[in-house]
């Protein structure tokens, strides 16, 4: 039986629907970006300094840390998981790196070891979640507490310092490269790499597949456990890097660094349009989401809004953004 004309017609019709649909999808994808632009426009009218190049770099540098956490979180959320331990991983890895350096280890090696430590913490999460079949929320809630406790034990509750003589290490958080702050540069480079990984590699596809339908992925021979372990390890490594940048910026590693950062990271991911139920989303949105949060923080400060009201405004904006998004898509 060959397809009849009519059927073809129907298919074509559906085809055009799909086009419309993907236009709609595009609009939905662009929603966060439009939101960001709107906020930027309002702020630049209300506060003249806002659009200074200086201030823009300032905002970008401020978000670089949350953005790195949020990039990892995007992968995790795409698989249908969540990682509450990123803030604690940031703190522990930052403290370890600082401790290594204070102990005389070469800064570059210390940084590599720090990132490795983060990856190992992430892998630990991944193993508990995949092999242990523990819900990601609860697994990382537990490790959030554990890693924080380890940080406190390791640092004894004091900031780790005594390594400020390395220029290379100082560069990571405070340097400029052709006029661009190094953390900003790192953020964009990592963004580019992760974008590519998600879109063009088998690993990236498997991340989406796993989040879309785990059982079907297993039946299709996707090594879901392995994918999960890699995803959490990646997030751990990125969190560690964020911790190292923060340590470099502050010139010390504080034991309570990164406290509640996981919430900002998750907010950035969701503001960017990635679905908390997994399988759907994109990392560009996360970058936009992190920018929205950063721009709001900065703008409200520039406007001199008191920090108590800032919280109300920020919560309100998140709510509004998500509500508009839902309205549009339904």
């Amino acid at each position: 039986m060959k397809p009849t004309k009519r059927k073809l017609c129907l298919l074509r019709l559906e085809g055009s629907n799909v086009k419309n649909k993907s236009l709609g999808q595009l609009a939905q994808k662009l929603g966060p970006l439009l939101g960001l632009i709107a906020i930027v426009v309002v702020l630049s009218i209300m506060s003249p300094q806002f659009l200074d190049l200086d201030n823009l770099f300032n905002v970008l540098r401020q978000i670089s840390i949350i953005a790195l956490l949020a990039f990892g979180m995007t992968f995790v959320i795409l698989t249908g998981g969540i990682d509450l331990s990123v803030g604690s991983t940031l703190a522990l890895a930052g403290a370890l790196t600082a401790g290594f350096m204070a102990g005389g280890i070469d800064p570059i090696i210390a940084v590599l070891l720090g990132v490795l430590a983060g990856a190992i913490m992430g892998a630990f999460n991944g193993i508990i979640i995949s092999k242990g079949k523990v819900a990601p929320f609860i697994a990382t809630l537990a490790t959030m507490t554990i890693f924080r406790g380890l940080t406190l034990v390791y640092t004894d509750g004091r900031p780790v310092t005594g390594f400020t003589d390395s220029v290379a290490f100082e560069m990571i958080g405070r340097g400029y490269f052709f006029g661009i702050p190094v953390p900003v540069l790192m953020m964009f480079v990592i963004f580019g790499v992760l974008l590519f990984v998600l879109r063009k590699t088998v690993f990236g596809r498997h991340v989406y597949a796993l989040g879309g339908n785990e059982e079907a992925s297993i039946l299709s021979g996707v090594k879901v456990n392995r994918v999960k372990i890699w995803v959490y390890s990646l997030t751990g490594a990125l969190s560690a890097l964020a911790g190292i940048i923060l340590t470099s910026r502050l010139g010390s590693a504080s034991p309570n660094a990164g406290f509640t950062y996981e919430l900002d990271a998750i907010a950035a991911v969701v503001l960017g349009g990635t679905s908390l139920s997994g399988g759907r989303g994109w990392i560009f949105g996360t970058l936009v989401g992190a920018l929205i949060i950063g721009v709001l923080n900065n703008g409200l400060n520039l406007l001199g809004v008191s920090s108590n009201y800032q919280q109300i405004v920020k919560g309100g904006v998140i709510l509004l953004a998500v509500l508009l998004d839902r309205q549009k898509s339904s």
Partner: protein, 294 residues
């Protein structure tokens, strides 16, 4: 059937517990162990306890008043002989102190005071005086004229309130000194950095910064350096090791030294005196000192 009195409270088993090993048992409730100031305070107490041969159990409230209440209740369950409390919140700690009073356990407060209950002794620096010292120093550095930024500690914490009060006692009287921005950064270094960065954007002109503690001051220094504003006078509070180093290097200008170790030590000494039935002063001040590069 109803009462606010615990049916089993006020027992006289306190004596018994002291007898079972003959050692004085002191309970120490600190507000947080994630801040170097309190870690040092605790270490001072521990060293002293070791030296004097008394048993010390430390609990940590993680900066939460409810957790502090619970952990003090746990210490009461252990029948400690004396309770040394570093309150998270001067007001909220009162019930915990009253519970200890009910159980006939004498209470000593350190670093932060309690607004009620029976406290046999309070050991602390004079934070109002410290705030005044900082203001005087800044006034002097600016030659009596200039714009100042204030980074506040955890809103509502007694340290923040008292230091702010002392600071404003001085600057509000000076016509030449103007506080151009004032924002809390919760005693945290990372918050000190971001808050300062944002203030730099909104209020680009100022001559000095007073931070309610060194952690925030050190965060602010990073922001100022990045913005090429190293000539701004920065004054902190506590004189932590980091801050002393920064003052030496010249990145910070001054810090008001508290002596957490001494506060901790005196806490234990006083507690032992109380346990042995000796009388103690109801306020034991610990000296403050202005630390500068000279």
């Amino acid at each position: 059937a109803c009462s606010t009195e615990s049916p089993t409270s006020g027992g006289d088993d306190e004596e018994a517990s002291k007898e079972d090993d003959g050692k004085v048992h002191i309970g120490l409730a600190v507000s947080t162990q994630a801040n170097p100031f309190f870690v040092t305070l605790k270490e001072g107490a521990e060293a002293k306890a070791e030296e004097m041969g008394v048993e010390l159990t430390t609990v940590d409230a993680k900066d939460d008043a409810a957790t502090q209440l619970s952990s003090i209740e746990d210490l009461i369950q252990q029948d400690v002989d004396v309770l040394v409390v570093n309150p998270t919140d001067s007001e909220a700690v009162v019930t915990a102190i009253e519970a200890a009073n009910d159980a006939d356990i004498p209470v000593i407060t350190v670093d932060r005071s309690a607004d009620g209950g029976e406290v046999v002794s309070h050991i602390a620096s004079d934070n109002v005086a410290g705030g005044e010292m900082a203001a005087d120093y800044i006034k002097e550095q600016l030659g009596g004229e200039g714009k100042v930024v204030e980074l506040e500690g955890i809103p509502g914490s007694s340290a923040a309130r008292e230091r702010g009060k002392g600071f404003h006692n001085v600057v509000d009287e000076e016509s030449g000194i103007e506080v151009v921005a004032k924002q809390p950064a919760d005693f945290e270094r990372a918050k000190g950095l971001t808050v300062m960065e944002n203030i730099i954007q909104s209020t680009p002109e100022f001559d000095a910064v007073f931070a309610h503690n060194d952690e925030m001051a050190l965060g602010a220094v990073q922001a100022l350096e990045a913005a090429g504003m190293s000539d701004v006078v920065v004054v902190g509070f506590d004189a932590t090791d980091d801050a002393r180093a920064a003052v030496k290097e010249g990145t910070m200008d001054a810090t008001i030294a508290q002596q957490p170790t001494v506060i901790g030590e005196k806490g234990i000494e006083t507690a032992v005196k109380v346990a042995n039935g000796k009388s103690v002063e109801d306020f034991i001040p610990v000296e403050l000192e202005l630390v500068t590069a000279e």
